[in-house]
Symmetry: C2
């Protein structure tokens, strides 16, 4: 491994998982880390998320040859500015942000003398904070690396090798295309999930207790991703605005067409739309990106309960 | 158990699960069953979904004291008409349909001389067909029973006891209210999931291979319920049209408000909407209606792989 000292700024789900994964799969690499929240730093030290929890990002960055910003997209710029004076000149700067054009710009402006190669591991759970991370988070998941047009190919190779060591499959992508792909595979699903959970909460004719009791009819699936970190998701939508609005427009058109089919009683149109979506699920399972067991395996779990 | 002979019409996920659950939890009850599809009947016999698989529903119904229609909502009326001549006069008629006003009407019109007490177990997986059922499907799930205003309270109690024996919690509800509650907890989530999976399939800028590879960002959650049986779901939307359109209207209003907040960069509005949805998830888990493990337990599964 080219990198000997990795600094992790932000010790939530992503940062904590990187810290634990490095210790598990790259035992010769020394990790430092910090978080803006003192409670998170204390808990990170208790869990041993990194070898050394520092009080400031300047201290965490002081000897790093790789620094990874694991903070919400809107906090990337300020977090990077904090290490400008202490980060060694040859250190590679990267991140795990869910939008890439805006984050690349923010990191580049805050650290104009450093090489920045952004990355985005497409992996997570609905949990956040210093207790959420685990070493296996990135295994068999994709990590998208979005280097600038002119970059240091040796450093790029080292970053790819780093993520592969943590268990990820790596893809190189143009940042603009990344933002469009993730708008549909991640950002739009979260926006819709947050919306429907909000809609259900606000009903007067149906009580919250009823929504909860009968959630196994499908609703509960949406509540999982709608339990994700609100600060991070606010920043994702603000930082990938155009691509999200584009995808939302397509979705709304398609939903309106189905609404019309329901209103006019067009069963053939409904059937043909509903019949073509199974193939994608099958492919996702075949490519190892979801659990093949029915109901995500929840049924197996229930079957062994009480 | 009051019922000694239960006939199950339709041997897919619901009918097969009822057959297996009766054998597991009510071993003294004899079950007959049939399905309109010969392949399903053959497979049902191999799996032993019921004690006796019949070639016709008239035969399956001949000695029943409880008959449960487990066919898509649009097939309820024709399926019930098929047993009118053979079903004993004292037999109770029930079903498992996802919409209750339309199904109660169809069953009542087809079997005007029988007592009909509709029911809806709020339980399922994305799988369908004779291989999908399992005995534990209803355990710790709610079954909503929607009796007509004037009904036989002894028969009603027997039906409640039947579902409780299968492991369900039973709730009595007005059919109109059922249709409104399920429109938000089940029908709207399925409509939205089918829509977004369709939207993602039709994109030109993002390939299907990319959608599949990066689905772990949230999209894959929607593909599960969008893999549900298209015939059944077509019928659900056609048979619960008004309530679905009402809920869809609310959802669209809320989505438009979030779209506007993204467009004008209103981070405070986004944060406040995203911060209030966690409580519902917590309640669903506390009430035993979802898995408390992160990512529905999928992460645990991944961690033990390879």
């Amino acid at each position: 491994m080219t990198f000997q000292r990795v600094a992790i700024i932000g010790l939530g789900l992503q940062g904590g998982s990187i810290g634990l994964a490095v210790q598990a799969y790259l035992p010769d690499v020394f990790t430092t880390g910090t978080d803006i929240d003192p409670g998170t730093r204390a808990r990170a030290a208790e869990r041993g998320l990194v070898h050394k929890v520092c009080d400031t990002s300047a201290e965490a960055a002081a000897d790093a040859d790789l620094i990874i910003f694991c903070v919400p997209p809107g906090a990337m710029g300020p977090a990077a500015a904090d290490v400008r004076a202490s980060l060694p000149a040859g250190a590679l700067v990267s991140d795990v942000g869910s939008s890439k054009q805006a984050v690349a710009k923010a990191l580049g402006e805050a650290l104009p003398d450093h090489l920045v190669i952004p990355a985005h591991p497409v992996a997570g759970t609905e949990n956040s904070g210093p207790d959420a991370g685990f070493a296996q988070l990135f295994r068999n998941r994709w990590c998208i690396v979005t280097p600038p047009a002119q970059t240091d190919l040796v450093k790029l190779s080292s970053l790819v090798a780093f993520w592969e060591a943590l268990g990820a499959n790596v893809e190189i992508m143009d940042p603009e295309h990344h933002d469009l792909v993730l708008a549909v595979t991640s950002h739009l699903p979260h926006l819709i999930a947050y919306t429907i959970v909000g809609t259900a909460s606000d009903l007067e004719e149906v009580t919250r207790s009823e929504v909860i009791k009968y959630s196994a009819g499908g609703f509960r699936d949406f509540t999982r991703i709608a339990a994700s970190d609100p600060t991070m998701w606010r920043d994702v939508f603000l930082s990938n605005r155009e691509a999200v609005l584009t995808m939302l427009q397509r979705f709304t058109e398609d939903l309106t067409a189905l609404q019309r089919a329901i209103r006019i009683g067009d069963g053939e149109m409904l059937f043909s739309q509903f019949a073509r979506t199974r193939a994608i699920r099958r492919s996702i399972i075949e490519e190892g990106q979801d659990d093949a067991r029915p109901d995500f395996g929840r049924a197996d779990h229930d079957a062994t309960e009480g």
